[in-house]
Symmetry: C2
Subunit: 210 residues, 2 copies
DNA sequence: CGTTCTAGATTGAACGTTCATTCTATGTTA
DNA sequence: TAACATAGAATGAACGTTCAATCTAGAACG
């Protein structure tokens, strides 16, 4: 009975990837359902239908619906953390920042992405486990953004204390994340004009003295 | 059968107010439940318990759960429309704007208010009827804000075209609404520092040339 | 090469629960 | 008594989850 205990993962890499594919299939289907019905409005039946498998089979890959939600949240946030880490690692911070901000505006104005993001935030407002995941990811992103701001402003000869930089980062984050709300409230907004105005506000904020 | 058709509201004022009290009771209870469980997670049983009445009795005042949601959304947005209308009507626009912005920052950073607002936006992202209500209210607010910006900037000798003013209003709205997301993602943020930074960014945006 | 064995993948029906809504009965007031 | 306020049980649908059964593909073996 003890003899098999040594093998850490009984599955060969081949079958591991098979399972990974299935997991991705489920998460993609779930994300789409969550977007259109919300975390609690989307049923396992609907998710499984969209994923092309039976309801029961979902439970071979996730313990329960909560676990699917957590995985969706994790996957979405990992992408965000990566983007901000890349920014911080880049050599020409200012150029990268401008380029990234354009991309970031577009991303936050995309209706589908905005829906899922809002679904996640709203769930974080009532589900402590989701709140924990969201907050942990946010700490990473905001630390990156704050340090990036420090470098960018030092290049302009300005030296701010931590509190100022932190608040500045919060406002910039608020602008981006607020765009997701705007695109829901007012779907017909002028995307290009808005993107230009966001860049203008950001540029001013970064380059103006304290 | 035709004879009673003339009376627009068959209830005397007294009973109308009694019913109004009950309606408010239900809406208050519902708002609290929606905050902690979400629109779909909150059950009629829980709402009725908190409102101090039976489940069945709820249906004397609202056709169904959807109607309660719509009423909550309507009530929340009416307050917002009123605030912006007041701003536009005030004589010293700039002073009022600064004062209002402080109040507005505080309001959007309040966790309870933020939760309900996010719940509403998220519901608007998937429920067309709620989206309609939200969008209608937003049009009022944004029209007010745009005209207010026009006046404020003309006082500084700047004349912008409509597109510029509209985009500027969108960014300002995004900042405020984004704060509600920030307070969820990062509950421990420095409220006072953030409020000061928001005012600084707004002031710069309003007073800088196009 | 053909057969048997086996373990994981997959299914769909069944279960118990919870929900929104309806219905019926009982107070309450004017 | 007529009309309204209120309660709480009844209803049927939908949901998350479980489970026993079937399928599939490859390993073991002769």
């Amino acid at each position: 009975m003890d003899m098999t205990a040594d093998a850490p993962s009984p599955l060969p890499a081949d079958e591991g990837s098979r399972a990974a594919v299935r997991r991705t299939q489920i998460l993609d289907a779930a994300a789409q359902c969550f977007r259109s019905c919300g975390f609690h409005g989307a049923s396992i039946a609907r998710i499984s239908r969209l994923a092309g498998m039976s309801t029961g089979h979902i439970y071979h890959y996730f313990d329960n619906k909560e676990a699917i939600i957590a995985a969706i949240v994790q996957r979405d946030l990992e992408r965000m953390v990566t983007v901000w880490a890349e920014l911080r690692a880049s050599r020409d911070v200012r150029e990268t920042m401008i380029a990234l901000s354009a991309e970031c505006v577009g991303d936050h104005l995309d209706a589908d992405a905005a829906k899922l993001r809002l679904e996640i935030i709203t769930e974080a407002a009532r589900n402590p486990e989701v709140a924990r995941i969201v907050h942990a990811a946010d700490c990473c992103c905001m630390a990156s953004l704050t340090e990036t701001l420090r470098i960018a402003r030092q290049m302009n000869g300005m030296h701010d204390d931590d509190a100022t930089l932190t608040s500045m980062a919060e406002v910039l984050a608020a602008i981006f994340e607020g765009l997701s709300i705007r695109t829901i409230r007012n779907p017909g907004l002028d995307r290009e004009g808005l993107a230009a105005m966001v860049q203008r506000v950001i540029r001013q904020t970064i380059s103006s003295p304290a």
